[in-house]
């Protein structure tokens, strides 16, 4: 089948489905019968439906708290999730292990078995495919909050089938955001097709009256990603999902570190997602936003990590994001213990409650930053449509091929990897090297001026060294990687 941004017919979908379910024995489960799954999903109570809980939060101007978290052994995983809920999590995750993400179910099985045997986690997440509907349903039944699969899987078709049939009403990812930062040699064309399937599955349920939330992964590589690049990717994935019948979408953003730029990014992400969905004729969409606490390298000191978590939460609350994904004080070291994860949740919840009734006042500075982001996003999206000759999916593949869209620090060979960011004098993320990025000269000049200004302040040349220093800086307790100054 040729790539195109076009809704899969039910026939195409069902045919593909037969293949998908064969990838691993758990695909055989009778609960994967679509009618059975639909009936089960319809029995999910309102307060465990991810989409409905998000809608309510948006209405109330709340920022909901969701940690990451997943361990291999079923019992332990359920224990973890309940602990997180008790700590204050409003929404629950199940972070999937990396073998499963690469469809290496055999290795996942080995890791799972060894973890059970040794009583020590050898996998970095919950192998949902290996646990199958049986295990995933048990998780669903034994927790009291909505569940989402969080992963990083270029081909998440079987995984998605299993989790939705188990009553999990949200799924993170997208054809770009779960490929470029998460894989090396999966062609974009392939991952987009696979995510069309995942979205079509949600559309299938949606058409039959079951609300399921979808969440493109905003932070991408989590490393100095300029807001316009991630926002453009979010909007493209929202459009691709909408075409397949998805109605409830949460677009995401990973904190950059400068308050005004971050708030501007969340606001313009929301505005432009609405704008483009409307422009392309997708109606009755339910759009919310998710803010990710600092996604780059964390400080190893736990008090500092707690401070960073709290600061991230303040920004999230002030940006009025609908959801906040939290980190833990163990972030720089390894998968957190249940307790450490809970500390992150508690601190985050405290902050969003404290800041519930506050916003960032409108200001010229905020306006300018929003306009800047919007202009840049427009450049990118228009270019994608142009090179795609009107087709968004094709345009995306071609734009990445030509480096017109380019995600910094991504491992994928289908990403040009020529864009290098650096911070300006206020710590806002700007672009130092545009590579082939589809932005006009005015924008380029703006960025370069800002970076030159900074380099001048620091008495040094504009070079890749700025980028390197900025990658390390937050973990060392500074936003901007300035050379040490005499005190």
């Amino acid at each position: 089948m040729k790539l195109a941004n076009k809704k899969l017919t039910e026939k195409e979908f069902l045919e593909q489905r037969q293949e998908v379910l064969k990838a691993w024995p758990t695909g055989n489960d009778e609960d994967l019968d679509l009618d059975k799954a639909l009936a089960f999903l319809k029995s999910v109570p309102e307060d465990k439906n991810f989409a409905l809980v998000l809608n309510k939060a948006k209405e109330n101007d709340d920022t909901l708290i969701q940690p990451r978290g997943g361990v291999p052994v079923l019992k332990e995983h359920i224990k973890l999730l309940n602990y997180l809920a008790d700590s204050g999590a409003d929404l629950l995750p199940s972070t999937i292990d990396s073998y499963t993400r690469h469809n290496r179910y055999q290795e996942a099985q080995k890791g799972l078995e060894e973890s059970e045997l040794k009583n020590r986690a050898l996998l970095n997440g919950f192998p949902a495919v290996n646990h199958g509907v049986k295990g995933c349903k048990e998780v669903f039944i034994k927790v009291s909050k909505p569940l989402e699969a969080r992963h990083g899987t270029p081909d998440a078709r079987l995984l998605s089938e299993i989790i939705h049939a188990s009553g999990w009403t949200s799924n993170e990812g997208g054809g770009i955001s779960y490929n470029i930062p998460y894989a090396k040699s999966v062609p974009l064309e392939v991952s987009i097709k696979h995510w069309q399937y995942v979205d079509r599955l949600v559309g299938y349920y949606e058409e039959r009256g079951v609300k399921i939330n979808r969440e493109p992964f905003g932070p991408l590589t989590g490393t100095l990603v300029p807001p316009s690049i991630s926002n453009a990717v979010m909007i493209i994935e929202a459009l691709l999902a909408a075409e397949q019948g998805v109605k409830n979408i949460t677009v995401g953003y990973g904190m950059g570190g400068n308050l005004i730029q971050d708030v501007a990014a969340v606001h313009s992400l929301y505005d432009q997602t609405l704008y483009y969905l409307d422009k392309f004729g997708y109606k009755d969409m339910e759009i919310s936003t998710v803010f990710h606490q600092w996604m780059g390298g964390f400080p190893s000191d736990e008090a500092e990590a707690m401070a960073l978590i709290s600061y991230s939460s303040s920004v999230a609350a002030l940006s009025k994001a609908t959801k906040l994904i939290t980190k833990s004080p163990h972030e720089s070291v390894g998968i957190p213990t249940m307790e450490a994860n809970g500390l992150g949740v508690k601190a985050s919840k405290f902050i969003v409650n404290m800041l519930k009734d506050q916003t960032i006042s409108e200001s010229k500075d905020l306006d300018l930053e929003m306009n800047q982001i919007k202009k840049e996003v427009e450049c990118l999206i228009e270019t994608v449509l142009k090179v795609g000759e009107g087709d968004l999916a094709i345009g995306t593949v071609r734009a990445f091929e030509q480096g017109l869209i380019d995600i910094p620090f991504a491992p994928s060979k289908f990403n040009a990897g020529k864009v290098f960011p650096a911070r300006d004098n206020e710590g806002r993320i700007r672009i130092l090297d545009f590579g082939n990025l589809a932005m006009n000269d005015e924008i380029k000049k703006f960025h370069l001026n800002k970076i030159e200004e900074r380099a001048k302040t620091e008495g040094r040349e504009v070079s890749f060294q700025l980028t390197v220093d900025d990658i390390y800086s937050v973990s060392k307790g500074k936003l901007i990687g300035r050379p040490l100054r005499d005190l």
Binding site: R101, R104, G111, P181, S300, S332, G334, I335, F409, Y472
Partner: protein
């Protein structure tokens, strides 16, 4: 002696280090920084990138006659991914090659002395705890490879 030759001779005089990220691990940022830092420090760096298997590392080491293999593992599966690597080196005839491993090599916050023990047994020469940046390891590298 033409320019190209001079360059080659200089190049050959450098110690060669194979770097990469093992297993299903896609953490690319540290890997890029390691390449940048080691190159700046005067090593010939062969970067096989993320998602690399033990075989990828060993083949690259053989091809480039490398002095050291530096394995990064960030995502937590390092323990599974690194098992048997020394044996494979021996099988491939590079039994003496230096094997370094670093990053966040196991799942979670574990007692590092135990972790180190496990990796020493696997035949690694140096094992680094989380938070050790490549700059901090330069001293060891210099020592092990000679100035």
């Amino acid at each position: 002696m033409c320019y190209k030759n001079a360059y080659k001779i200089w190049r050959d005089s450098l110690k060669t280090i194979v770097i990469g990220v093992i297993g299903a691990d896609v953490h690319a940022v540290g890997n890029k920084i390691i390449e940048y830092t080691l190159t700046k420090s005067g090593y010939n760096v062969v970067n096989i990138g993320v998602l690399s298997s033990q075989e990828d590392f060993i083949n690259a080491a053989i091809e480039t006659n490398a002095d050291m293999i530096m394995v990064s593992s960030l995502y937590g599966h390092g323990e599974i991914d690194c098992r048997g690597m020394r044996d494979k080196c021996i099988e491939s005839g590079i039994e003496d090659i230096l094997l370094y491993v670093g990053g966040n090599i196991v799942v979670g916050k574990q007692d590092f002395s135990e972790v180190k023990e496990r990796f020493l047994e696997m035949g690694f020469n140096r094992i680094y705890p989380p938070g050790t940046s490549i700059d901090q390891a330069l001293k060891d590298i210099k020592q092990d490879l000679g100035e």
